[in-house]
Symmetry: C2
Subunit: 202 residues, 2 copies
Amino acid sequence: MKKTVGVSPKVNSDLTAKARIRNAAFALYANYGEDATSMRAIAEAAGVTVGLVVHHFRTKDGLREVIEQHIVDLFFGAIKQVPLEGTTAEIAAARDEAVADMLSDNPAVVGYLRRALLDPMGHRGRILEMLTDLAAKQVATLRNVGVASKAHRDSSQVIGVMIRQLGQLFLQPMVDSMWSQLAGPNAAEDDKPLLVVKVQES
Amino acid sequence: MKKTVGVSPKVNSDLTAKARIRNAAFALYANYGEDATSMRAIAEAAGVTVGLVVHHFRTKDGLREVIEQHIVDLFFGAIKQVPLEGTTAEIAAARDEAVADMLSDNPAVVGYLRRALLDPMGHRGRILEMLTDLAAKQVATLRNVGVASKAHRDSSQVIGVMIRQLGQLFLQPMVDSMWSQLAGPNAAEDDKPLLVVKVQES
DNA sequence: ATCAACACTATACGAATGTATAGTATACTA
DNA sequence: TAGTATACTATACATTCGTATAGTGTTGAT
């Protein structure tokens, strides 16, 4: 009974073994966490042996580095593709939507980040810092083409962007669990409460 | 260099070994997660040997059961102590405050729940179900003394109570990290953005 | 065709883990 | 005071883990 979590084998089967290993590890990390995922489980999910995982990525640290860089690339790719046209607000909104689309296409990103960000003591990577930097740079380019916002507001805006997008996704599984326990598994979906997360400037 | 996380040794030292083991395990689980905490680490933090941990709790499952029951007791104790006087809204508000106080007195509860609830695939306990049940019962007693709310709204209310209380606590660490990275470690505390989490009825 | 680089497998090893067992000290009951 | 249950320690064992090493197949340039 081998389960394939998150990655479609059809898509996966004509990738290089190295890419398959990275994808398998990414999906497993997102679903079960890095510590609960053994190199042997990664190898099996990718259809190779442990030795090859070590050959391509050396250690688990190496694997995590590649995965986190991949996540940053996904964010950057999503933001990059929206043109710098229109008002600042329009650009910001278009970026929000592009990122939201990317997240919905790549659920493993959400799962991985949920674990990484909400486990401040345990996580050994630097993904939060990398993403915060990326978001800060994006806000800065926005300021260059549009109205300048007061510099000390920039930080709040960066945090606002990330929390709005991720916070809701992080907590929604908890709402879903409770909803199905309370209302029964086959209750009307449209009655389900919606989560709203926002940051308030002080 | 042995660190004592969360538990004051002064308070701890005149407890029974069994209670010390439970407290040590609770604090370690909250900070590092169950999987990353070995029985030997628990034993060392409690000042005993591994054998005694096994003697008192049999397995890690047994330990988790006791800890989760302890958490439920803390919630129940907080709610129980507010008298059923005043309007429904007043009772509900007083309960919210009692729970908030309990959470601030027992940070390990927040840490433990953050891990348990945000790790839907990995967690092996039943704490979310237990707490949802408890919250549902409390909403039900509220309905008996006050105005009846439509039954299908009860679920939303239960979810609202738990999310309002826990959601903000779960996400705030993420805001804090980003804030100190962006604004520098010694920026003015009162500029820090405030997180608001709520559920919206559909 | 040869040789070197690379992809990949097989196996092994030490460390850490959860738990079992056997034994010792301490406390309680008769 | 004797005896037994309970608290507690010490040690052992099988399993799983990350990683290292040695070897086999495969490809591609000359």
